[in-house]
Amino acid sequence: MIAFLKRFSRNPAAVVGLVILVLVVAFAILAPLLYPNSPWKPVQRPFLAPFAQAGFPMGTDTLGRDVAAGLVHGARVSLQIGVVSTIVALLIGVPLGAIAGYSGGWVDDLLMRFTEFFQTIPSFALAIVMVAILQPQLGSIILAIGVVSWPPVARLVRGEVLSLRSREYVQAAITIGQSTPRIIFSQILPNTIAPIIVIGSLMVGTAILLESSLSFLGLGDPNLMSWGYMVGAGRTRLLDSWWISFFPGIAIFLTVLALNLAGEGLNDALNPRLSRGRK
């Protein structure tokens, strides 16, 4: 563990990513304390420029809502949706990949065709259709993001399982008559945790981008203030009030960038032998 932390902290980009991430999480947790009022509530005159008025460092939007308050509350929404939909994707992808890799034969063939199907179809279009028809709510958004994000997980887990199942300790477990689910869950999957964590951390970033794109198109949960919604809401007043769309975009960018940097750092720290070639 200490060696892992050492390796991680030797990568400056990863540390920067982690610091940004901690800040975003802190803002998300402290949102009700920093801005106890609802972010939907108009608090000043509309189109107030940043720093024009004390206490409104990012100005107000088209309805006089505080942009900074929206950002802080939006951090909660983005992170929550990012994490939960990634968990949904992992819950679909990991079992599918594990079964495909362990069974081989026609089961593998069938499951991989199924995975390929979801990889070829335009995933964002599917997400739009799903959220629109099932109505834009937290649940349908998370489901849609999960459904379009799992295929890479399934492929990754399948590959790992495929290479692990021929290992001696797995063969030994088969020989002593352990049941297949037990072998998969107690012998094989624990050894695939590291790559799953890495791909998971990268997927949270993609999920945040997806959520913001959906709510930019007006497919956000109408009760949740989200970054994508804020960008979309300020879109019509770009020329005279650029800040309404600008700051939420920066927030998305920083969070996704941080997740990518931290995820890659995690990858390097978890596979020190693989990453030695880099740099």
Partner: protein, 325 residues
């Protein structure tokens, strides 16, 4: 002969995939809260009883579930994608009207990003560890993390609203009545911003893939052999590494063509580009679900067609691929 068999197999596979999408659409309509006929009417629950009754008869909504599925999927496979009662036009003709604009946008974005991406990726891999490698990797990571619609908005502010270099929105100058070459030029000027913003994200993706692919190929035995023979580094890079590295990148890029469609929805929305993405956005605000489902189906068909095409080109360009499969 071999090629024809291959083509037939791929087309058959594509039809199966399209059938699966039709089934998926059908299931979504039934998973929607409320009456399926209301979803098919696509008027946000405001359709009158006469229309609903007509739809129920047409799609056999009183029949058993599987019969309904058969009717729905059957009409889809004949490219009957339903009717938009709001626009009083068939969904297919609405999509076909908008398709050329989307093909132009996604096609140019694909070509730009593939060209720039592989070139930058090659540069970065060649100068591995050098500051230029760091710069290319960092910039591509940054574009990878920036929301596409936000880049679109910001480039709209900078290049069109503030600097006034390029047109703000649309496909061509309205009322200019240009024709021939002048019209092409006009469309081209309108195309620059949307194609660039859509291309940026994919450029970032391809840079990363190309760099990784180059580094992987650079470690293989035939490269060492070439070096041992005394070939110059430039020749090795161009003829041995780059040529072999580009193949998996193009394959992956072709497989990810579906993502271009998603990006097109966002760029077309921002730039009011009259393609199927904008059609989808408008249908979204009007709750015109048949259009949404139709665009999803047609864009999937496009991606499948594109994939078959790339595979076909490969088998002609690189005979090894056919021999293995």
């Amino acid at each position: 002969m071999n090629l024809i068999m291959f083509l037939l197999g791929r087309v058959a596979k594509g039809v199966v995939v399209l059938m699966a999408i039709a089934i998926l659409n059908f299931l979504l309509i039934h998973a929607a809260p409320g009456d399926p006929a209301q979803v098919m009417a696509g008027q946000g629950g405001a359709a009158d009883e006469e229309l609903l009754q007509q739809l129920r008869v047409q799609y056999g909504l009183d029949k058993p579930f599987l019969t309904q599925l058969g009717i729905y999927a059957g009409s889809y496979l004949q490219f009957d994608l339903g009717f938009s009662y709001r626009q009083q036009q068939s969904v297919l003709s609405l999509i076909m009207d908008r398709l050329p604009a989307t093909l132009l946008l996604t096609g140019s974005a694909f070509v730009i990003s593939l060209l720039v991406g592989t070139l930058m990726g090659m540069l970065a891999a060649r100068r591995q560890g050098h500051w230029s490698d760091g710069a290319i990797t960092t910039v591509s990571l940054m574009f990878y993390a920036t929301p596409l619609f936000w880049i679109a908005l910001m480039s709209q502010i900078i290049f069109s609203l503030k600097l006034g270099w390029l047109p703000n929105v649309g496909y061509e100058t309205i009322g200019a009545n240009l024709s021939g070459f002048a019209r092409m030029l006009d469309i081209g000027r309108h195309l620059i911003l949307p194609a660039m913003t859509l291309g940026l994200f994919f450029t970032a993706v391809y840079v990363r893939m190309m760099r990784a692919s180059m580094l992987q190929v650079a470690g293989s035995d035939f490269v060492k052999t070439a070096r041992a023979k005394g070939l110059s580094e430039g020749v090795i890079l161009r003829h041995h590494i780059a040529r072999n590295a580009i193949l998996p990148v193009v394959t992956l890029a072709g497989l990810q063509a579906g993502q271009l469609v998603g990006g097109a929805v966002l760029t077309e929305t921002v730039f009011a580009w009259p393609g199927i993405g904008r059609l989808m956005f408008d249908a979204l605000t009007q709750r015109d679900y048949p259009i949404l489902l139709g665009v999803f189906f047609i864009s999937s068909a496009l991606v499948i067609g594109f994939n078959i095409l790339t595979e076909l080109v490969y088998r002609i360009v690189d005979p090894r691929i056919g021999a293995q499969g």
